[in-house]
C-alpha cells in the first residue's frame, strides 16, 4: 500500500508539471495584463510600471518567465499578487481553508442525506416515498448552483429569515466569544453548503439507490433472508456494506464537482474561497494568483482522487494495489 501511494505521488509530479505549463500558456494567451490597466491610471508613473515589470519578471522572454516562475514554485514561492500586493501564498492559504470548509460541509450534508434516502428508496422501491425522493433528486440535479443560491437568498430576504446573506463573518465577528465566532461562521456557511450539498446529494442518492437495489438482489442476501435473519440486519449488515463500496469511487469524482461548483456558489454567496479568488484573479489579470489558483485546485483534485482510491482499497479487501 505504501509503495502504491508513493508511486501515485511520483506520477503526480509530471502531471503537475504539465498542468503548470498549460496554466502558464493559457494565462499568456490572455490579452492585456494587469500593468496595462495600471497604465491607464494617470497617477501611476512610467517608472513605477517599469520597476514593477522588472520586479515581477515581466520584461523577460516568455520561456524565461515560465522557468523562473516554476523555479520559484519549487521553492514554495508562488510569486506576488498584483492586486493584493502580498505574496500569493498568503492570499491563497486562507482561501484554500475556506473552500475546504465549504466543501466538507457540503459533502457532510450530501452524504448524510443521500445514504439514508438511497437505502430507503431501494428498500421501498416504487412506493410514494421513493417516487417523491426520485423526483426531488431530478430537481436537485437540474437546478444550477448559482440559481439555487439566488433563490435561497431571495427567500431569506423575502421572508425575513434571520440568516446572513453574504460573506463568511458578520461585522461584529472580531468582538465575539470563540463559541460565538464558530456559530457565526456556521450561520454564514449554511446557505452555500446547502446549495453545494444538494447538487451532489441528487447524484449520490441515485447511485446509492441503484447499488442498494443491486445488492439486495444478490444471492447472499437471499441466503441471509433464508437463514431467518431480521430484515434490518440483512439490509444494514449485508446489503449496505456491499452497496457502499462503489460510492467511495464516486468520492473522488465528487471532489472535482465540489471544487467547480464551489466557484459559482462562492461568488453568489460571497464566501471568500478559492473559486471566488480565481474569478477576481482572472478578471483583473492577476497573473500569478490565477496560475497559483489553477495549480492549487489541481493539487486538491489529485489528492482527492488518491484519497478515494486508498479508501476504496481499505474498504474493499478484494482490491489490492501494488
Amino acid at each position: 500500500m505504501r509503495t502504491y501511494i508513493l508511486r501515485r505521488l511520483l506520477q503526480a509530479i509530471p502531471l503537475l508539471l504539465a498542468i503548470s505549463l498549460l496554466s502558464f500558456f493559457i494565462m499568456q494567451l490572455s490579452p492585456g495584463s494587469y500593468l496595462d490597466t495600471m497604465k491607464l491610471n494617470p497617477d501611476v508613473s512610467e517608472e513605477l510600471i517599469e520597476t514593477m515589470k522588472r520586479q515581477y519578471g515581466l520584461d523577460k522572454s516568455v520561456p524565461e518567465q515560465y522557468f523562473h516562475w516554476l523555479w520559484q514554485i519549487l521553492q514554495g514561492n508562488f510569486g506576488e499578487s498584483f492586486t493584493y500586493q502580498v505574496p500569493v501564498l498568503h492570499v491563497i492559504q486562507t482561501r484554500v481553508v475556506n473552500t475546504l470548509i465549504l466543501s466538507f460541509a457540503a459533502m457532510f450534508i450530501a452524504w448524510g442525506f443521500s445514504i439514508p434516502i438511497g437505502i430507503y428508496s431501494a428498500t421501498h422501491k416504487y412506493t410514494i416515498g421513493d417516487n417523491i425522493f426520485t423526483s426531488l433528486a431530478f430537481v436537485g440535479l437540474s437546478i444550477p448552483n448559482f440559481f439555487f443560491a439566488l433563490l435561497l437568498l431571495f427567500l431569506i430576504v423575502r421572508f425575513n429569515i434571520p440568516l446572513p446573506i453574504n460573506g463568511m463573518t458578520s461585522i461584529m465577528h472580531d468582538f465575539m466569544s470563540p463559541m460565538g465566532k464558530v456559530l457565526d461562521i456556521l450561520k454564514h456557511l449554511l446557505v452555500p453548503a446547502v446549495v453545494l450539498g444538494t447538487a451532489s446529494m441528487a447524484t449520490l442518492t441515485r447511485i446509492m439507490r441503484g447499488q442498494m437495489i443491486e445488492a439486495m438482489r444478490s444471492d447472499y442476501i437471499r441466503t441471509a433472508k433464508a437463514k431467518g435473519l431480521k430484515n434490518k440486519k440483512v439490509v444494514y449488515k449485508h446489503a449496505f456494506r456491499n452497496a457502499i463500496n462503489p460510492m467511495i469511487t464516486i468520492f473522488g469524482f465528487q471532489i472535482s464537482m465540489l471544487l467547480s461548483g464551489a466557484a459559482l456558489t462562492e461568488t453568489v454567496t460571497g464566501w471568500p474561497g478559492l473559486g471566488k479568488m480565481m474569478l477576481t484573479a482572472v478578471r483583473s489579470k492577476d497573473l500569478y494568483l490565477a496560475m497559483a489558483g489553477l495549480m492549487i485546485g489541481s493539487v486538491l483534485l489529485i489528492i482527492g482522487n488518491l484519497i478515494a482510491d486508498v479508501l476504496l482499497a481499505v474498504s474493499d479487501p478484494r482490491i489490492r494495489y501494488s
Binding site: N145, V157, S260
Partner: protein, 370 residues
Amino acid sequence: MDKINQKPRNLKNNNDKDYEFWYDTWKRLRRHKMAVIGGTIIIILYLTVIFAGFLAPYNPYKSFKKHFFHPPTQVHFTDEDGLTWPYVYATESVDWAEYEVIKDKKYPIKLFHRGQEYELLGLFETDLHLFGVDEPAHLFLLGSDNYGRDLFTRILFGGRVSMFIGFVAIFITTIIGLIVGGIAGYYGGWVDNILMRFAEVIMSIPSFYLLLALAAVLPIDISSTLRFFLIISILSFRGWAGMARVIRGMVLSIRNEDYVLAAEAIGARDPRIIKNHVLPITTTYVIVRATVSIPGYIIMESGLSFLGLGIQEPNASWGNMLTAAQNVTKITNFPWLLIPGFMIFFAVLSYNLLGDGLRDALDPKATETN
C-alpha cells in the same frame, strides 16, 4: 429523439437486425413516460427559440428607457361587461422604477400585430409578431429589465444561445472524443500514451477553474457570433477528455477481435477500419453520453455568462440575464428577474429526464436496477 429512428449507415449489411434494435429502443423509450414528456418539452423549447422573432412582441435590444424594472404587465380578461378580449392599460413612471396604471384607455392585445422588424429564420425580413399592443401601452409579459427591455422577448432570444450552445458543444466534443479515443485505442503505444496523458492533464484541473481561465483569454471586442463559437470551443476543450478516455477503452477491447483483424488482412486502410469497424460499437454509448452531457453544457454556459465571461450584453443568454439578479436587493424588489433561471432549470430538467429514459431504453439490462 428522431435520431434514434435513423439507421446508422455503417452497418448496411446488417440492416434488418439493426433496424430492429433501434425500433425496440424507440418502443422502450416511448414507454418511459417522463422521457417522453422531457423530449416533448425540449422540442417545444427549440421551436420556441427558433421562432423567437415571431413569438416575441418586441425586439430583444429595444429598450423602453422610461419603463425599466417594469413589473409584468397585467393582462385583463374582464371589464364592466364581463368577459372580454384581453386588454392592457398603459403605465406611466411616477418614481424610480415605480409605475402608475392609467385606466383611461384600454389597449386590446392584437394578434398578428405589426411591430418592429426582424429576420425570420434568417431568411426574410418581416414585422409580423404573433401578438402585441399599440403604443403607448406596453406588453411586458414577464416584466422588463434594467434597460427597460422586455424580459419575455429576451428569454426567447436568450434561449437560442442556451439551447444551442449545449447542442453544438456536445457535437464538437463527441467528434474530438471519437477521433482521439479511436486513434489512441487503435494504435496504442506512444500515441496512446501521449494522448491519454494530455487528457489526464485536462481532467486534473478543476473544470470550472479551467473554464474561467480560458474564458478570460477571449478578447472583449469580438463579434457575438465569434464569441459564441469561442465559448463552444472552450466548453469542448474541457469536455473531450472524459469521452476520449472511455472510447479508447472500448476501442482497445475490440482492437483484436477477428473482424477487425480480418479487415486489416484484406488491406483496408486504418481510417476506414476505425470509421467502419471500430467506432460503430461506441454508438450507444455516444448517444447516451451526449444526451446526458448537454444539460452540463447548458449549466456551464449559463454560469460563465452569469459571471460576465460568457455571452456579453447586449446579447441575451439565460445566464447573463441573471447577472441583473445578482444583487439581493434587486431580486427582492424585482423578483421577475429570476425567471431566466427557471428556464435554465426546465431545459436542464427535460434533458435529464430524456437522457435517463434513453439510457434505460438503450441498455435494457440497466433498467432492472432503477
